[in-house]
Symmetry: C2
Subunit: 494 residues, 2 copies
């Protein structure tokens, strides 16, 4: 098969637009063909809309973006493309006719693939010239972000077509899944459709609303499904003996009316297939190891969703608001009248914070030092209510010195000493320690500036805040100034 | 209902252990009852195993951890608990008998809830004393991390029981979902079960392996399901006219053999319910707005999974390796012989990087400066192969000065000037600019130390690396030293 530098699109709906955006982003030229000339503007808009998210997918260096062209002439597209992807409406006779036509204009070594959700390749390739270069390549919306593409060959499809298509889709950042047997709906849509039809029954029977049914997934199994499928998850649910135990325990439920879909008979042969399949997936990893991986990603995904205040992240965020409120009421925040450096935060080095060496990445030290300021700010009265008045402290300088290492899973704590302050500024020195041996791992020499956020300039802190700051300064007056504070970066030779 | 300070557990399997871990972590005492005395050790182990992940769920201040006690005497547990959660095997007569017994020992204002996956509350509360304080509270594994709990009342359950149970579960960080109608499997397990039975059919029919079926979810719809359910996702798939358009377009598929589950008739009344439901979920947000939210979380989740090299994150990671390789081969890395500061990185301020004010958080500046070093290190020969020999540069100091602001979605770039170097050290000065107006937003004054990672001490860089470093020093020799380099943090008055 030929090297793909130009992708031809037959049809330009949501799916066609998604293909265009993904291919262009990874350096492939795109020529889109649609009988309606107004679709040129449409697809350019779709590509532009996809760009902000695509730009953030990776910060690795990208080849120059591809260029997009448009034609109403299918033949022009077919003659210029190195790979053709069809995305027209889901009607078999229409797809058969158009695929046959495009196949007569495209050279025989140009792969032609269909985005069909459920039609089978043998039916689709029936009237094509050189049908061996045809396959189904079924993507998922949004095509520019979801990596999955199902590849299905028909009776006349060659293995080299599947291999070359897989190579192309991998090049543009996707995960090709070879579906080895033709079946309506391929794999993914059969699973989605079973769930969808059960939803329709429940709404139809007045059991629940669409919103309740969506909640029933996103706060629970949906979080797991982001990285482990039902089979591996059920393997974990079986404890040390995995899927076999799970089937023994929940096998009887298959006869219960838990869905309107009847289950197959749980024969010994089916049990063996399920057990062998999940053993292969576990790939020698113990249940405990897989549980740890599952727990790690479940925590990390909830952290991300928290930033967007969506689903389980919204639950976490409101929990945290309540915890901070309770802590303030219970005086669990650091005491401003303490003569020692205030102990501000206990944290754990998260697995997503470490490099390939399992050491905490440099910038995460900055994050922990920053998180540690939160209870201190709350204690001097700089909380949500204060910030809502348009006033806050900004970091203007932060000089971090790394003097030790923190490894994955280790606990950390931070202490702080207020060195100097005036109406607008706080000069704070923090130390970070490992919990297990009280070894110092980093120091931070920081300057904060009080700002009026609306005017976007420095302003004096509220007198009440100032009073608390003075209280800390007085309490810590006897502490000696850290030797590391106020020092400069340099080799000491210039 | 009474204030809950002690949670009683009836049964201590995987689910009981999960409840114990979650409750203890959020400051609730737990008394676990199991007829088998060996389960005491088991549940203590389960709690210990859950702790590392739970510790990372939030860094908000927590109340003191609860204490765990164990008894083989159900009566002791029932008399000490303020809230009782039953987690015994899924057998109706057994559950009925045990719930009845525990209800006779517990005061009438103690809520008794069952973790049952699929049995219905009216059946379960049949023989209980004060059955109005009973409900189903169905959690999901791992109970200590997944927020979902389905609350289902039976015919005799009071509304105040549901309300008080919801309050308690919210307190321990969960999302209570009130299931308004009793039905076997409640909501979640009906949806999961439909998908599961379709999987069993496909494995049974030899269509695909368990691994292929899991892939069919985790690289596609599973990523979406982490924060939006099928209904809202299909609403988005319908374009500007949402669910109504989607049903018009895909309605016919409901008659197709895409799953072994037959769909209900798509009547006008069902269409209306689906449309009204999803309109309520959209809550006034446009399709475009929801698409942006979906894209944001899809990108962010893939970033997280990349850290764990799992699912879509593994796809992203291997894509990036290829992109870096191509960039090196294509000489897209910064030129070491350039006389100007090297332009190192183009980045975009991700939505998950900003604070409530939509400004990039302080520590993310450190991340961008760090990311910018990657192409520079690769250019001087410090790449995977070099690191595999046990040598690398560690950051020892980083002094960041904030001089401007970067807002969500803004593009950024970083330039670097090598100020000084010796065998072991690199003193590098970076500047970060906003792409839109070339305004400087931050500077970083950094010292890197070359280390032998096995010996964990400073070591001389490889002569080839040194040569490249010298080449940069020579090329940049004419550049003046930045005024901001080598300065200290301070108010200037001490």
């Amino acid at each position: 098969m030929r090297k793909v530098t130009t992708l031809g699109l037959l049809g330009t709906g949501v799916i066609g637009g998604g293909w265009a955006a993904r291919a262009l982003h990874f350096g492939i030229d795109v020529i889109a063909a649609d009988v309606k000339p107004e679709m040129e503007e449409w697809i350019r808009g779709a590509v532009a809309n996809a760009e902000p998210a695509l730009q953030r997918l990776t910060s690795a260096p990208l080849p120059p973006k591809g260029t997009l062209s448009f034609t109403t002439d299918l033949k022009v597209m077919a003659q210029r493309a190195d790979f053709i992807q069809e995305n027209i409406p889901e009607q078999l006779p229409l797809k058969q006719r158009m695929l046959a036509e495009v196949s007569r204009h495209a050279a025989a070594d140009v792969i032609i693939a269909s985005s069909t959700s459920g039609l089978t390749p043998t039916d689709l390739q029936r009237d094509m010239a050189a049908p061996e270069r045809f396959c189904v390549a079924h993507p998922f919306n949004p095509v520019y972000l979801l990596p999955l593409v199902e590849l299905v060959g028909g009776q006349k499809t060659s293995q080299s077509t599947i291999d070359a298509a897989a190579k192309f889709f991998t090049y543009i950042g996707m995960h090709p899944l070879h579906v080895r047997r033709e079946i309506p709906g391929h794999l993914t849509d059969r699973l989605q459709e079973a769930l969808w039809r059960e939803i329709l029954h429940m709404v139809n029977d007045g059991i629940a609303t669409t919103g309740e049914l969506d909640e029933s997934i996103i706060y629970g199994p949906g979080l797991r499904w982001a990285a482990m499928g039902t089979n591996l998850i059920y393997h974990l649910a079986g404890g040390e003996s995995g899927m076999r135990h799970m089937l023994a325990q929940f096998g009887p439920c298959l006869k219960w009316p838990w869905t309107k879909l009847e289950a197959p008979e749980l024969t010994e042969s089916l049990i063996d297939k399920m057990v062998e399949g999940t053993q292969a997936q576990a790939a020698g990893r113990s249940i405990r190891e897989l549980e740890r991986l599952r727990d790690d990603y479940l925590v990390a995904i909830q952290q991300v969703l928290r930033q967007y205040n969506i689903g389980a992240g919204a639950t976490l965020r409101s929990l945290e608001e309540r915890l901070f409120k309770d802590a303030s009421a219970g005086h669990a925040l650091p005491a401003v009248e303490s003569a020692a450096p205030m102990r501000l935060l206990d944290a754990v080095v998260r697995p997503e914070w470490v490099d390939y060496n399992r050491h905490m990445s440099d910038f995460r030290y900055g994050q922990v030092f920053g998180d540690a300021m939160e209870p201190l700010f709350r204690q001097i009265g700089v909380d949500e209510a204060y910030r809502a008045t348009g006033r806050m402290y900004y970091t203007v300088e932060n000089h971090i010195r790394h003097v030790g290492e923190a490894k994955m899973g280790e606990s950390l704590y931070v202490t702080a000493q207020l060195l100097e302050a005036d109406d607008k500024r706080l000069h704070i020195f923090q130390r970070m320690f490992r919990g297990r041996d009280d070894q110092q791992v980093a120091t931070a020499d920081q300057m904060y500036l009080h700002v009026d956020t609306a005017a976007a300039k420095a302003s004096a802190a509220d007198p009440k805040v100032r009073a608390k700051v003075e209280q800390i300064l007085r309490a810590q007056a006897a502490l000696s100034r850290p030797a590391e504070a106020g020092r400069a970066v340099g080799l000491g030779k210039s």
